[in-house]
């Protein structure tokens, strides 16, 4: 494979395009509402109508408005159909020839779509994730070629630093700096790891990227391998994501077949292979040191850092570990330039962020917006607010490690620092909207139960502390708690956050602390009357002043 071959595949792919393209969403959400049957129906209808040489039916990745699935798009014309049934196929195909159809139309001009800015998701819903040619037709693997032949690893790393990209796995560590550390650590063997564990309840960004555009992640990993001097990559995906695993397997096989992964990529001396490792679905295995233990075949428990993976990771070799979405940003940054990327977003948070909108919101699905977009724009304009005109009470970001942001803070721009200031975190991108009917102490109890169950059990504060905090929250929710219980709970929140070994325990108190910060009265109202009831009432009065 040389660049001419790549260009030829791309040109053939673009030239071979038929007059009409019917895109049918084949990501997990739409597939759960029978989109496979829809696609089969469409293919049959095209054949029956004798339109095979004019109309292409293309299975594509996530088309984002998951709540209206199965989604079907028709080009030209930018037409969107929603809630498509397999029985609609014939009518839909006929409509491409000008016939009227009563299949439910979606509005591609609604704010949900119009306010999005696609970088990571630019191929999602457009290319066929199971055909590498489709990705190459969308400029795929061009970035890999250009770094191999036009950039030194150092120039490449400087480029990533200049783009301002920060890790999308939660903590927001500057990606270029991490790459530089791994590159500078001397070692004959280095590894690149892609973190696709995605364990936050309600989050499905990484799954969508892997299902919709697996090659963008592979290309990002190969570029990273060149930058840091690694020849082996691992993608860690949870077993609950069978479709993502299948598409990755197909992608790796196809890339290997045409020489875009393996030895002598583009006939350069660069060698890079990628293997998949399947996790058993433990939340803690998303934590980088636990994830690496799991890849090594050990029990997935975290270990203290330092040493950081960049110095000593997989089998004690320097290891670069980044999130799925982080890798998916790399090829676009290389293609379009660091300046272009750095011009999007806010002063300290560059580029876009993908969010999975879920909960009490009209439009659930996947969105990608520039950093700095306000929460109000996301949940009210794009998300369409709470169903039935209910008012929004809070927005939860960062999953069990994050917090609840109250409605009066909705004008906050979404960036790493602003969300942290509000007692939440950016997290990996789950966004759960809650309406008036949500009771905050119950939300806190739910997330604490999650952390208690997912604690690996290695360190005492997290293992025993989450159990005690859950017990206290349970008492409070059941109106058996006292003011003293509340004080004990807050003391434990501080202690577990400060003393736990890994991020799971350190962040487990966040949902409790943030709901206590903004909705304290809901807790006070639940305290049992009795010996401590007096105390509770006093605190409540003090609070209301």
């Amino acid at each position: 494979m040389v660049i001419e071959d790549l260009v030829e595949i791309a040109e053939k792919e673009r030239a071979g395009g038929k007059k009409t393209i019917i895109r049918c969403c084949m990501a997990a959400s739409c597939m759960s509402s029978r989109s496979e049957a829809v696609k089969a129906g469409l293919e049959k209808a095209v054949k029956d109508a004798g339109l095979s040489d004019q109309v292409e039916v293309r299975g594509v990745g996530c088309m984002r408005l998951c709540c209206q699935g199965p989604l079907v798009g028709v080009e030209p014309g930018n037409i969107l159909y929603q809630k498509v049934e397999p029985e609609d196929a014939a009518s839909l195909v006929a409509s491409t020839q000008g016939a009227p159809t009563d299949v439910e139309r979606g509005d591609p001009e609604q704010p949900f779509f119009k306010k999005q800015l696609s970088i990571v998701l630019s191929n999602s819903g457009v290319v066929d994730p199971e055909r590498i040619e489709s990705y190459i037709g969308a400029d795929g693997y061009k970035a890999l070629h250009s770094v191999l032949f036009e950039m030194t690893p150092k120039e490449l790393i400087d480029h990533i630093i200049a783009s301002g990209l920060r890790g999308r796995g939660g903590a927001g560590y500057p990606t270029g700096l991490k790459w530089a550390t791994v590159a500078k650590t001397p070692s004959a063997q280095k590894y690149v790891v892609c973190n696709g564990d995605e364990g936050d309840p309600g989050a499905f960004m990484d799954r969508s990227v892997l299902e919709s555009d697996p090659h963008s992640v592979l290309e990002g990993m190969a570029i990273a391998g060149y930058a840091v001097g690694a020849n082996q990559g691992f993608i860690y995906v949870r077993a609950e994501y069978p479709l993502a695993i299948k598409r990755l397997q197909i992608a790796i096989r196809q890339a290997r077949q045409i020489g875009l992964i393996g030895s002598g990529i583009f006939e350069s001396p660069f060698h890079f292979t990628v293997d998949i490792r399947i996790g058993a679905g433990a939340y803690v295995c998303g934590e980088e040191t636990a994830l690496m233990a799991s890849i090594e075949g050990k029990r997935g428990t975290p270990r203290p850092r330092p040493p950081f993976p960049a110095e000593s990771g997989l089998w004690n070799s320097p290891t670069l570990i980044n999130n799925v979405e982080t890798f998916a940003n790399i090829a676009p940054i290389v293609r379009k330039g660091a300046d272009w990327y750095a011009s999007i977003g806010t002063a300290k948070s560059k580029g876009t962020k993908v969010f999975a909108l879920a909960g009490k919101i009209e439009n659930t699905g996947l969105i990608e917006v520039p950093m700095g977009t306000t929460l109000r724009q996301i949940v009210e304009e794009m998300g369409g607010g709470a169903p039935g005109g209910a008012s929004i009470k809070a927005v939860q970001t960062g999953g069990p490690s994050g917090g609840c942001i109250p409605a009066n803070e909705l004008d906050t721009p979404v960036d790493y620092e602003s969300l942290t200031r509000l007692g939440s975190i950016m997290g990996s991108g789950g966004m759960i909207v809650m309406d008036e009917s949500t009771r905050m102490p119950e939300v806190a109890r739910y997330f604490m139960e999650f952390c208690m169950d997912e604690s690996c059990g290695k360190c005492i504060p997290c293992r025993a502390g989450t159990a005690q905090m859950h017990h206290l929250l349970d008492r409070i929710v059941k109106r058996q708690g006292t003011a003293r219980d509340l004080a004990t709970l807050e003391e434990l929140c501080d202690m577990v956050a400060r003393t736990s070994l890994c991020g799971l325990g350190q962040n487990a108190p966040n949902p409790v602390r943030s709901t206590l910060r903004y909705f304290r009265n809901e807790y006070l109202a639940l305290l049992a009357p009795g010996s401590n009831g007096q105390l509770a009432r006093e605190e409540q009065t003090a609070n209301s002043h």
Partner: protein, 238 residues
């Protein structure tokens, strides 16, 4: 090996480059509470009792796993740390069923001693009273899960000193427990060499020699470090 100087609790201390804060403190005669640390095996950093404050570092660091650096300023005994240590111990006592008065290790228990040394005189949390069993299938030793604090000292000793790889941890969170081989009765284990190192390593009464009664289990874990040191220095090579 070059030496480094640092400051622990206001005292100038020097230690070998590559030493941990815990090692430097011990050398300087400064006591830091530990529970999962065991001389002779690698550290897990799991119990969090040895946490210390280091000036300029936001997080608390475990002394047993953090290497010293030139000019480091360490505090091991602040009000805050003492409070966290007491809470950690309280959490442990509430977690399983620790009844000192009926325990083989009463009077020789590291957990009990730590509670006493750190002024933990009562437990403010509700006791969990979980149901755990006792494995008495091994002819010489027993394992009482009720008294286990999951420090994993036995596991590390079994893998790294004896090399048998019998003991391990199964389960998650508070439901984690020590297993033998593939979670079978200890007595059925085909890998256990009955060396007894795990029993010597246990800080509480969880692992015991059968036939011992209340307060009879005394052990000397320094034997384990002795073996490791002798091996490393090839003292037994003739």
């Amino acid at each position: 090996m070059a030496a480094k100087t640092l400051n622990i609790n206001g005292k100038q201390v020097s230690a070998d480059e590559g030493a941990t804060i815990l090692e430097a403190a011990i050398e300087a005669g400064i006591k830091i509470p530990t529970l999962c640390h065991l001389d002779g095996v690698y550290d897990a950093g799991a119990c969090r009792l040895c946490l210390v404050e280091v000036t300029g570092v936001n997080k608390l660091l475990s002394a047993c796993t953090t290497r010293i650096a030139e000019g480091m300023e360490v505090h091991t005994d602040t009000e805050q740390l003492r409070k966290y240590r007491r809470m950690t111990l309280e959490l442990l006592f509430a977690e399983r069923n620790h009844t000192c008065s009926a325990c083989v290790s009463n009077g020789h228990c590291e957990l009990q001693a730590l509670a006493w040394q750190n002024g933990m005189d009562h437990v403010r949390y509700d006791y969990c009273f979980p149901r755990w069993s006792v494995d008495a299938s091994h002819p010489r030793y027993g394992l009482d899960h009720n008294r286990c604090i999951l420090c994993t000292r036995c596991v590390r000793v079994c893998w790294h000193i004896e090399g048998a790889g019998t003991k391990n941890v199964a389960g998650r969170g508070a439901k984690s427990f020590i297993i033998d081989d593939l979670a079978q009765p200890w007595g059925d284990s085909e890998t256990c060499t009955s060396c007894g190192k795990c029993v010597i390593a246990c800080p509480t009464g969880a692992l015991f020699t059968r036939g011992s009664t209340v307060a009879e289990m005394e052990r000397d874990p320094s034997k384990l470090a002795f073996i490791v040191n002798a091996r490393e220095r090839k003292q037994w090579v003739v």
